[in-house]
Amino acid sequence: MADHDEPQVPELHGRLTGVAGRIDVAELEQARATVDGVVGRRRARKRVGATLGAAAVIATATTVVLTLGGGGPDTIVTTDDTMTTNPVPDHSLAGSDPTVDRPAAAEPIEVRAGGSRAGSVAGVSGAPQYGEWIVPWDDGFLVGSTSYPLQPLPAELPEEVIALFPQEVIDLFGGDLPDTIAEATDRLSETGLLEVVSDIIQENPAAYDAIYGAEVEALTFDVRYTVDGAVWEPREFVAPAGATYLSSVAAVGDRLAVVYGVVDPLTGMPVDGTITVATTSDLSTWTEQDIVVPSSGELPEGINRMVSAQDLAANDNGWVLPVYDSIDADPFSLLPQDVRDEIDAANGLGMGTSDTGVTVEYDFDADGNNPAVTRTFTWDELGVSPETAQLLLDQDDSSTVWAASWDGEPVLSQAPRAGGLVVATPAGFVQWTDQTWFSPDGVDWSSSPLPDGAAWVSDAFDIDGGLVVMSSTESGTTLVHRVDERGADAVLLDVPQIDTNSIVGDGSFSASSASGAIVTASPPVPSEQLLSVEVDGYRLSVRQPGGIFEVTDLATDEVIVSESLVRPGGDGGSLIIDDAGITVTDLTTGEVLVVFSQEVLDASESEFLDGGGGEYLPDFWLLASVDGERFVIDDLDDPTDGPTSMATNGTVLLLQSGNNWIVYDLD
């Protein structure tokens, strides 16, 4: 049972369970044999050897030549035309990488490394546990999140419902039910009774209705204010009528703007195609601007329209907002009731949609094969119009961009690409596709080239007089530019701390006044961590990049084999991987030089994994600036989660990363 203190995704448990239930698991005996095999030999599956090969399959080089004892070199030399499908970041300077196509001249920047000061710990001394949104406000910051009330339990349950549960469950609560379902869930879980109770509730609608029937208090918004990230105070916040979730929040001066759509409290589905942009200066009285997205007409039951919007870009004059309109449908619910009942009573269900309609197969045999029934229902029979059917088939979604001045009516924007990153500046709005686009009012747009060398823009943040724009070249090299308020006059910046293969932001904070972005650098796994074993005077290791296997003669420290396991045309190398492990042969004589047994390889892997290795630990960095010349660059301490909220008020940047609210002085 869900904890209603968390954001809600309707029916998530049931849906996940439904999806999971369709995942085929091997018969128990077969699965156990697999496990025993892994334990017994640590090479139970051929794909273990293939995995080792697969680890090197990222390289597509061919390697030949082993000439031990002859007149040639005692090494195998790799012709290393590697192209990794999943490149391992190389922390060397960009200039040493021949694949880097970064434009040459870059303006140096002034960097202040680190620079954070003590903020606060989430949940302590008034600091919010979690911020869904954060905006600059009143010389400080406003942080808000939706507070979901816990689902209450009724004070007592009908006798006939109580009788459904085993005595040990009844005894657990002793006639005194907890106040909330969450509390009951915890107690049932602790005593191992949760599953039996869940099954009973699922199988007995009367029990479900009785237990979940208590009225839930309305959700509220938890809004807090801080000027320095250390001291917090609650702020009264009265949401606009009908707003239960704010999909985007932005602040411009003393104007706070929020975006929402009214949803059905029972289903979580939008009630219509209206998106509202509401603004306030006192956090309680609102001026609303409605975007009414035209619909294709009444939809049959089981087909829902999903209209949503986020990433509001706003300046002193108005706003731009991408809106998404899609169809969500469960074809099963379109079927006639008697067919649904028949399917529910039968064994298994297969379902598909086509231009014709919905086809179902059900009543499978005990092995899950050979459906006894296959039927097709045309769209017309199901009461679905051709237009709606096409939407269902295409999973096609319309996206539109809307714009308005603060006191005007929202209109459709002529933005070039609905849904692309849009950033507001004092001069207007900037968006990027394969070109840079600018609009003074959000309605009409003009284009200019992307910053020199950029193939696509991944993130941007506002600075005085313009933007800092992060992009990638065709080959994936990271670029950072400073541009003006129209997105033009780009100046390439030299930010040496940014790894050439870093992932530079994803626009997560672009809707707010950020003055910063998060750069993710995945640290490369040192080659010795992948494999490094020594047997009989030889060491086997993997060299990166390229996943090249190397065998080193420990006596001479010479690399005598350097080989990729991917050899177009098949065999020919000196390394053989099979159930025995990795065998190294002298191709000239056929002599086996050394065998790295599977036991040895497994021990190396175990040592690595047992030592905590193999964990994916992305490396998050903050890149922030107010002028595009002096930057704060900081390696964030929480390497796993990354920041979840960030905003600046022009001189101070506040971000939440993990459990900490961290403050940076940018001025």
């Binding site: 968390e6 998404y324 996943g547």
Partner: protein
């Protein structure tokens, strides 16, 4: 202790220590859910099965210790995840979503496909907590213990994951 009279305990009144759960019984009970949970978390049917096998294998090797944990399946879950993301495996391109082009992937309705697609767009850290909380039905404290992280970390990841999942499931497919 002062002021308290010690009460002698009749050894016969002591409840017998529970016998360790046999591995066979543990495996039979949890095998299917672990395969499914790891498949959902790593986003690949084949990889999920392998990760489950590796997790159970390591549990078997250490059963005398693992059997004493409050939630041995939590240990299997974590080890399976770590293995799936280990040095060799992570050199494979990470899949997003269950591999619908895989003959072994389950047949999904469009409704479920939307959920799977949204799940695939979460980070693996977020999928891990969503699966642990909403498929395995672990409490936040159980999940924290299973993943060896602080309860606060679980809570913040869950909040973030669910917010993103909720918004992704309202979005059109293919939004950049």
């Amino acid at each position: 202790m002062t002021g308290v009279d010690a009460v002698p305990i009749d050894p016969g009144e002591l409840a017998p220590l529970p016998l360790p759960l046999p591995f066979d019984e543990f495996f039979a009970t949890h095998h299917a859910e672990m395969v499914r949970a790891l498949t959902l978390a790593v986003g690949d049917v084949e990889l999920g099965r392998d990760a489950a096998a590796e997790g159970f294998a390591r549990a078997l090797e250490r059963w005398s210790g693992v059997s004493g944990y409050a939630n041995p399946s939590g240990w299997v879950y974590r080890v399976g995840l770590n293995w799936a993301r280990s040095g060799r495996r992570r050199l494979r391109r990470e899949r997003t979503g269950l591999r619908l082009d895989d003959s072994e992937a389950p047949e999904l309705t469009p409704h479920d496909a939307a959920l799977v697609s949204a799940l695939g767009r979460l980070s693996i850290e977020h999928r891990t907590v969503v699966v642990g909380r909403y498929y395995l039905d672990w409490s936040e404290s159980q999940l924290a213990e299973a993943l060896d992280v602080a309860p606060g970390t679980v809570k913040s990841r869950l909040n973030r994951a669910l917010s993103k999942l909720a918004s992704l499931m309202e979005e059109p497919h293919g939004r950049p």
